[in-house]
């Protein structure tokens, strides 16, 4: 289960995620990102309600990061210790900008 809330302010887009980012839910997020990323220069993921990220979720984040590297910035916020651990193990801590 994943609840995705979208806050759009001009070229600044924020996704507030609630639930689990896994094989089943990652495609939903991927679609949302694809559908709204045109013209965005500042992308923000708020993970305060996110309990779980699997490699399927990491793939979405990596692909978003690649896109944003070409046209602006991307930030991941409010990451729980458990998810931070995943980012550390996979080297994502160095790729993503985590606040």
């Amino acid at each position: 289960m994943l609840d995705i809330k979208k806050n759009l302010e001009e070229s600044r887009l924020e996704f507030v995620l609630d639930g689990r980012l896994d094989t089943i839910t990652a495609p939903q997020l991927e679609e949302e990102v694809k559908a709204s990323i045109d013209g965005i220069t500042e992308l923000i993921f708020d993970f305060s309600g996110l309990a779980y990220v699997s490699s399927a979720g990491l793939r979405v984040l990596l692909s978003a990061q690649k896109t944003m590297n070409e046209k602006g910035t991307m930030v991941v916020r409010n990451v729980s210790d458990e998810i931070q651990e995943i980012f550390d193990v996979t080297g994502f801590s160095d790729i993503l900008t985590i606040e």
Binding site: T23, S54, S55, V89
Partner: protein
């Protein structure tokens, strides 16, 4: 006239002809014989009686007035006809002379607690009783076998009583039958089939309700063993043993009492239970106790000894016993199987020690070593056991049942729920739980995507939790294409986002976060095992 006393029981041998010519003389001879002692039971042995007229019959009637339990035995067939025509056979016990049967050169095909079974010809077998005064035993066995048959247990009922040397035997029809011991000994590839049939019969016995009072209560018997053991165990262990047996509730289901592979016969396609004299009612743990002895208990210090008894090796016996327990309990969970086995061992050792002690085992060096071994094991078991009932063990196993599920991504949530439910039981940290979840998701999704592609298939997920060390082991089994995901190269996690490829992270994460990951391809199955220390 020959008479013999045994305690207060007198046997009077009747000879030749008894008619109006000598009836008075015979009668006074009998009363002379009874004059000096008070007889509680009178048996007339008619082995040498050639003829009896109504004058003779009247003597017997008068004698029976004084001794209502009067029995006439060894009656020749001509004489038996007279007793039958005159209605004597309905008034009192009149037993025919027994046919004599020799077992010289006959094959021993069965062996039980109270006797041995020999094949005397193609269609018939005779069971010879150890007890020389076995007529009551034979009668008992015939009655219980009849009862079992009526209650739906396939068995053979004896149709004749014979004399074999000084022993009594009962004769059964048993055509082309082979015992399960013989099958296991000669056709080891049939082991699984034997287990299936053996367990099916066992379940049939244990699901049979016996009308009250028809069979002895096994609990009483085991209680008497436990009381006997008080002198041979430390006080605390003795008390525990008695309390454990006392706590077993009354059960009116049938148990065989000596259920091992020599007592199960395959006749054509039909499986028959034989050796019914130990039939009782009681909780199945009592049965499992005696079964443990037949395959393991008796032979724990002398593995070779089983071969002369069962005709198969100790290794076969161990395997057969373990598989039987697994099948009977309906679980592959070794922990549960061993826990139930331990309860059976308590009953088994108790019986073995008592039996050996009573047979003078303490005076013999080898027997004494066995008694010491059984006693040591028993004391240890008693320390760690709180109940002989095993229903709760089985409840635990139901919780830990494998998940057998179609390998499609839509089932991921169900797999996760199954794994998390098992993890909750051990209580594991959020961090460990997430790592395990991630690993489970990776492996399961991998199976969904690749194992059967483009077809669909199933996957089995098994979660096993152990206490020492605190550890969870998760096994995934699929029957798809052989594929070892561990061979995949690890991604370079130092690369920048632009250099990194999307994907390939999953297995890497599994390897990083689990304490052991193993892959095996066996019997057409991919088996992947994750171990995480908690």
């Amino acid at each position: 006239m020959n008479t013999s006393w045994e305690n207060d029981k007198i046997t009077i041998r009747l000879e030749g002809r008894i008619d109006s010519g000598n009836a008075a003389a015979v009668e006074s001879e009998i009363s002379d014989a009874l004059k000096d002692h008070t007889a509680s039971a009178v048996i007339l042995d008619a082995e040498d009686l050639e003829y009896i007229s109504s004058a003779g019959l009247r003597i017997i009637l008068r004698l029976r007035k004084k001794f209502p339990e009067l029995r006439i035995i060894n009656v020749k067939s001509d004489v038996f006809e007279v007793f039958e025509m005159t209605g004597f056979t309905e008034m009192m016990t009149v037993e025919k002379a027994y046919r004599r049967v020799s077992i010289e050169g006959c094959e021993e095909i069965g062996h039980g607690a109270n006797g041995s079974l020999y094949r005397i010809d193609k269609d018939n077998v005779v069971k010879i009783y150890n007890n020389p005064d076995a007529l009551d035993d034979i009668q008992h066995e015939r009655e219980v076998a009849r009862l079992a048959l009526i209650l739906g247990i396939p068995t053979a009922i004896s149709y004749d009583v014979v004399k074999v040397g000084d022993s009594y035997g009962s004769v059964f029809e048993l055509l082309n039958a082979r015992s399960f011991s013989k099958i296991l000994g000669t056709e080891p590839e049939k082991l699984d089939w034997c287990v299936d049939e053996y367990v099916e019969m066992l379940k049939r016995i244990h699901s049979t309700v016996v009308p009250e009072g028809k069979l002895p209560d096994m609990k009483e018997t085991v209680l008497s063993w436990a009381r006997f053991m008080q002198d041979y165990l430390p006080e605390e262990s003795g008390k525990k043993l008695l309390a454990l047996v006392e706590a077993v509730p009354h059960d009116d289901h049938m148990i065989h009492g000596d259920y091992h592979t020599k007592n199960l016969e395959l006749q054509d396609d039909e499986v028959l239970l034989i050796d019914m004299d130990t039939l009782a009612v009681g909780h199945p743990i009592f049965e499992l106790g005696s079964m443990f002895n037949a395959y393991r208990g008796f032979f724990e210090l002398d593995h070779k000894a089983i071969e002369s008894f069962q005709r198969f090796s100790y290794e076969t016996a161990e395997k057969f016993w373990y598989k039987t327990l697994a099948k009977y309990l309906g679980t592959d969970d070794e922990k549960v199987i061993r826990s139930v086995e331990d309860k059976a061992r308590i009953i088994g050792y108790t019986r073995l020690i008592r039996r050996s002690v009573r047979r003078g085992g303490l005076e013999d060096k080898d027997r004494k070593a066995e008694i010491d071994h059984w006693t040591k094991e028993l004391i240890e078991l008693l320390e760690k056991t709180d109940t002989l009932l095993f229903e709760n063990d089985l409840e635990d196993t139901n919780k830990h049942k494998d998940l057998d599920i179609e390998a499609v991504e839509d089932n991921l949530d169900e797999v996760m729920a199954y794994v998390d439910e098992n993890l909750e039981a051990v209580g594991c940290s959020m961090k460990a739980q997430m790592q395990i979840d991630i690993a489970v998701e990776e492996i399961f999704v991998n199976i969904c995507k690749y194992a059967y592609h483009p077809e669909k298939g199933r996957a089995v997920v098994r979660v096993e939790v152990s206490d020492d060390p605190v550890q969870v082991k998760i096994t995934f089994i699929d029957h798809g294409k052989p594929y070892d995901p561990l061979l995949k190269d690890d991604p370079d996690v130092t690369l920048s986002a632009d250099e990194r490829e999307i994907g390939g992270l999953g297995i890497f994460m599994v390897k990083q976060t689990m304490d052991a990951v193993e892959y095996e391809y066996k019997d057409g199955s991919n088996i992947l095992t994750l171990v995480k220390n908690l």
